[in-house]
């Protein structure tokens, strides 16, 4: 096991990593920009090294500075957290080349999954379902009609050379297809001087469902169920829950097994998340995140597994400490991302925190680097806390979440707690009946 780990991140996830190390008897090195000298994890870490000025480019994304910090402190492992350098294959490469352990997947897996086209091809070959569509451009109308039959409706016809919606046609029924195709080709020709189009299934109100996996590099891969992250605004997740209200156990086991089978073939190492759109009982691959996820605590809540601890163990060369049969799901968990932003205008609100009082009691977890008097720097993400609530049933969980939101006090700045309190009172949300556009529609109606 590592004697000392360098935490190449900031904010709540840096604190999360520090806690995991501390609980494993591993010493921690916090590297930080000058804007984060007072951060809680910096103050709690065994050692801290200031690596640069506030701009992330010069500090948290500054590879030489991070490696130099590892050098002067004698750290053995480097944990990239999420964001910043966590999915940078070059960083994984350079870390390894300098003799440190990158706590994450292999450079190659990061690189492949980072290339969206390559990733889609690879996972399809490994047996993971992707959005059905033509393999590439379609030039022959007859071929297109045949393809459309295979793909099914509704579907989108998109200009191969296109962009910005031009040449794009939504087709809901077979009878409309021929006309739409002709129109799309005409528009495409006119706009791009190229009448090639391609075809893809159109998802109207999909959910965002992701499967958490972990592998130890021997080909042993285990899935830890799904998280439903459909509550989004501007493609940013706002609230996540597990299990998904949309899946039953059979569906869960089936998609889980599909993912496990695929990633076993490539001997996937470390934590990873396979993200899907889900509609009408079908999963469609979006991308794979080759890192620890912001919303990992909901999986920890329902499986009882400390994901970060397991990730560090595996990076240190240990085999997975459990098998698929050991995994069972208990109760329901929801995470609210608490952001320093206005709850209705979403204007970011950095600045000095006044009162800070986290909710407590049974089934309530708070991950946050905030404290009373802390000054939130304006240079980074607005995520300042994660409230994770666990309950026996989804309803119990919602009731508990409601009382925890009531108790949460963050003074001095704007926070989106009222948004969460509002969302979880909506009947659609209570019914679990929402999709990736739901929150924006709700906010639109709200105005």
């Amino acid at each position: 096991m590592f004697e000392k780990v360098l935490i190449a991140n900031r904010g709540e996830i840096a604190l999360r990593l520090h806690r995991a190390c501390r609980e494993m008897g591993i010493k921690t090195v916090a590297v930080h920009s000058t804007a984060d000298s007072d951060a809680m994890h910096v103050r709690l870490a065994d050692e801290s090294v200031c690596i640069g000025p506030p701009p992330a480019m010069d500090s948290y994304l500054n590879m030489p500075a991070i490696l130099a910090a590892a050098e002067i402190t004698g750290a053995e492992g480097i944990h990239p957290g999420y964001g910043f350098l966590s999915e940078n294959a070059d960083f994984a490469h350079i870390v390894t080349e300098h003799g440190y352990t990158f706590i994450g997947p292999t450079e190659q897996h990061i690189r492949t999954m980072g290339d969206k086209i390559e990733a889609k091809k690879m996972v399809r070959d490994l047996g993971i379902p992707v959005v059905p569509g033509s393999d590439g451009e379609v030039t022959d109308p007859e071929e297109a009609v045949a393809l459309a039959e295979d793909i099914g409706y509704p579907l989108l016809i998109k200009a191969a050379s296109g962009g910005g919606g031009r040449g794009m046609k939504l087709v809901r029924q077979a009878s409309e297809f021929a006309d739409a195709l002709a129109a799309a080709r005409r528009e495409s020709k006119a706009a791009f001087n190229d009448d090639a189009v391609y075809i893809e299934r159109y998802l109207e109100q999909p959910r965002h469902i992701e499967i958490q996996v972990i592998g130890d590099g021997t080909g042993k891969v285990v899935h830890l169920g799904e998280r439903d992250c459909s509550l989004q605004r501007n493609n940013q997740k706002v609230l996540e829950e597990a299990p998904s209200p949309a899946l039953n156990d059979a569906v869960r086991q089936k998609i889980g097994q599909t993912v496990v089978d695929a990633l076993s073939q490539i001997k996937y190492t470390s934590l990873g998340t396979v993200e899907f759109l889900y509609e009408d009982g079908e999963f469609y691959f979006i991308e794979m995140n080759t890192r620890l996820q912001v919303e990992h605590p909901v999986t920890e809540a329902i499986t009882g597994i400390d994901l970060v601890r397991e990730q560090i163990r595996i990076a240190a060369g240990a085999p997975l400490s459990f098998s698929q049969e050991d995994i069972s799901f208990h109760g329901h968990a929801i995470e609210c991302r608490i952001n320093a932003e206005h709850p209705t205008t979403f204007v970011p609100s950095p600045g000095q925190v006044g009162d800070f009082h986290a909710p407590g009691g049974l089934g309530v977890r708070v991950d946050s680097g905030l404290y009373a008097g802390y000054r939130i720097p304006p240079n980074y993400d607005s995520l300042i806390a994660k409230l994770v609530v666990h309950g026996t049933t989804r309803n119990d969980c919602l009731m508990r979440l409601s009382r925890a939101l009531e108790e949460f006090v963050i003074g001095g700045i704007d926070v989106n707690i009222p948004l969460h309190a509002d969302v979880i009172q909506q009947q659609s949300f209570i019914d679990g009946d929402y999709h990736i556009h739901w929150l924006e529609e709700f906010l639109g109606h709200h105005k």
């Binding site: 809680m40 090294v49 130099a68 009373a372």
Partner: protein
């Protein structure tokens, strides 16, 4: 006191001045008139604003020496531009780049910092005399550490 003799604009002006200057009280006396304005500010409250100083934090975080804090604002301070190991000389056998009392010109290499097996030459930001050298040879430095005073 006669009705409405009070100068509302004067009060507004003074209140704005208090805002601008951070004053908490203004009193003006003019012949027989006297006007006194007071604003009890949150800033006047002491303890609340002080950030939490967790027990563990106090123990864990090495307090920055008081002297350093002052020196970093010194006009002749040379701050470390990178993280690494700082050396007085180019190699163990070589003479130090500079000694206290040496006159240096802007751009002249005054130390090297090793990071990732690379020795980075650190130039003097200005011309002047080296009055203090604030790091030991072959010791780690952080971004922003005060390395020398050149004045």
């Amino acid at each position: 006191m006669a009705k409405h003799e009070v100068d509302k604009d004067l009060i507004r002006t003074l209140a704005a001045l208090m805002d601008e200057t951070g004053l908490s009280e203004i009193e003006i006396e003019n012949d027989d008139d006297r006007l006194r304005l007071v604003r009890a500010t949150a800033a006047a409250a002491p303890v609340a604003v002080a950030p939490i100083a967790p027990i563990a934090m106090a123990a864990a975080a090495a307090p920055a020496p008081a002297g350093d804090a002052d020196l970093s604002k010194h006009p002749g301070a040379l701050l470390s531009p990178i993280v690494g190991t700082a050396y007085h000389a180019a190699s163990p056998d070589a003479a130090p780049f500079v000694a206290i009392g040496d006159r240096v010109s802007a751009g002249q290499t005054v130390l090297v910092i090793e990071a990732m097996k690379t020795f980075n030459e650190i130039p003097s930001p200005s011309s002047g005399v080296v009055s203090q050298i604030l790091f030991d040879n072959a010791t780690p430095v952080e971004y922003g550490d005060v390395l020398m005073i050149i004045e």
